[in-house]
Symmetry: C2
Subunit: 260 residues, 2 copies
């Protein structure tokens, strides 16, 4: 589904849609996809404020394209729930999910991931290998993040994003190994919302140690070939993620309330 765009954006690195197209016009990509990637980056980076209106013409001017591809990219984004469209008023960035929405999101995620894990373990396929690989990537990303964490200076955004993606890749590898493309697509659809959440609430990864430890437990259970233990470890992990996310959200809400 949206794998292509995602992967493309990640692999070949966002491709400077603003660059002047004087030279090297060879191998022109589809403009709509580049606009889509650019908008997705803006949305996940919080460069577009939630609730703010999205002007088609304004975005077109900003990106240096005509309104048509912008309109198309927005129609594509509308299906993800990151932007909403009202009758004749245009598009707007979807407001932040509250605590209730967060609970629903984590519940839906649990349903998918736990059942996917059960099936992936039962298939006895290449789950253990991929999971080990993803876990190694996650550990490396965490190490890089800690390494870049100077005294009272948060790591650059690209490092944070790399950590988030490595964490997420661990979970994606499970639904991937379940062999069911529909389960994978549904979890990926939830992924954008989750990304936005952690980017907004935490504004900094504070739970990488807990996440790595819990991932490690899942991995060991899978390697041991114990489905029930793996599912239990996954449920524990998701409960932990949810609890920590709720704490962060409440802290954020408190900060916002103090400010008013």
């Amino acid at each position: 589904m949206s794998d292509r765009a995602w992967v493309a954006a990640r692999v070949q690195g966002v491709a400077h849609v603003n660059a002047p197209r004087t030279t090297e016009v060879l191998r022109r990509q589809l403009l709509r996809d580049e606009v889509y990637d650019a908008l997705l980056d803006m949305l996940l980076d919080q460069r577009l404020a939630p609730g703010g209106s999205l002007s088609i013409d304004g975005l077109a001017r900003e990106l240096g394209v005509s309104p048509t591809p912008v309109r198309e990219a927005l129609a594509f984004l509308e299906h993800t729930g990151l932007v909403v469209r009202t009758a004749l008023k245009g598009y707007a960035v979807a407001p932040h999910p509250g605590a209730e929405q967060l609970g629903h999101l984590m519940e839906a995620r649990s349903v998918l991931e736990i059942e996917a894990l059960r099936r992936a373990v039962a298939r006895e396929g290449l789950l253990a290998g991929r999971l080990r690989e993803a876990h190694a990537g996650h550990e490396a990303a965490a190490a890089a993040m800690v390494d870049a964490w100077g005294p009272a200076s948060p790591p650059p955004a690209v490092v944070m994003r790399h950590y988030f993606e490595a964490d997420w890749a661990f979970h994606l590898s499970i639904v991937e190994a379940s062999g069911n493309p529909y389960l994978r697509d549904m979890l990926q659809g939830l992924g954008t919302h989750l990304h936005r959440l952690v980017q907004s609430a935490g504004r900094g990864v504070t739970d990488w140690q807990a996440a790595l430890a819990e991932h490690g437990r899942i991995l060991r259970a899978v390697e041991g070939g114990d489905p029930d233990q793996a599912v239990a470890a996954m449920a524990e992990h998701l409960a932990g993620v949810r609890e920590r996310a709720v704490d962060d959200t409440l802290a954020l809400a408190g900060r916002v309330a103090d400010r008013t």
Copy 2:
């Protein structure tokens, strides 16, 4: 998500996009949504052959609109998987899912529906009432369909469609009663694929008796307040649906194979 378009299309009845717009221009809807509804109807009615290419200009001419709203509606449809888009070649109707895809589809559906049912029963909310209502509607639609079934003359398409929607509404009411909008949206996303499947494979409803009986068992278990029994009944129903669908698909494949 796509509820709006769906509901609108069903409630206010597909709104004749081809109608000449000479008079009664009052209450002008968004053209993009009408095109979307029209395309969705064409896709689910098999009026657009799977694998066939979708010309933007051709569709625009056929619907009497400019290419712009058609392009937007296609971009919106692309996210549902009913149409696919290749680099610079344009859109095409997604090919029919084979037996393997069907299995994945039913598996994903089972994951969602069973867990949603478990949560809906636990919430002790208005599930029983809505479920009873949906079941009554399903029975009525089945009766109407049987009534319209003359000797060797299938019922008109609108009656068949009404039956399908009543059947599906039973399942949707469960995820709706789970209280989780994400679970509901995900199942609705699978719904379009399922619709297309039953329309293509069965080409006639042959299992309405079994479906009604199994639905009744689910309803009674819910009314009795027994979660495990309700889940068991649902699992049984989904297994039955899957088995019958596979039979139909194999029969269809056999017919196609005979023809070649």
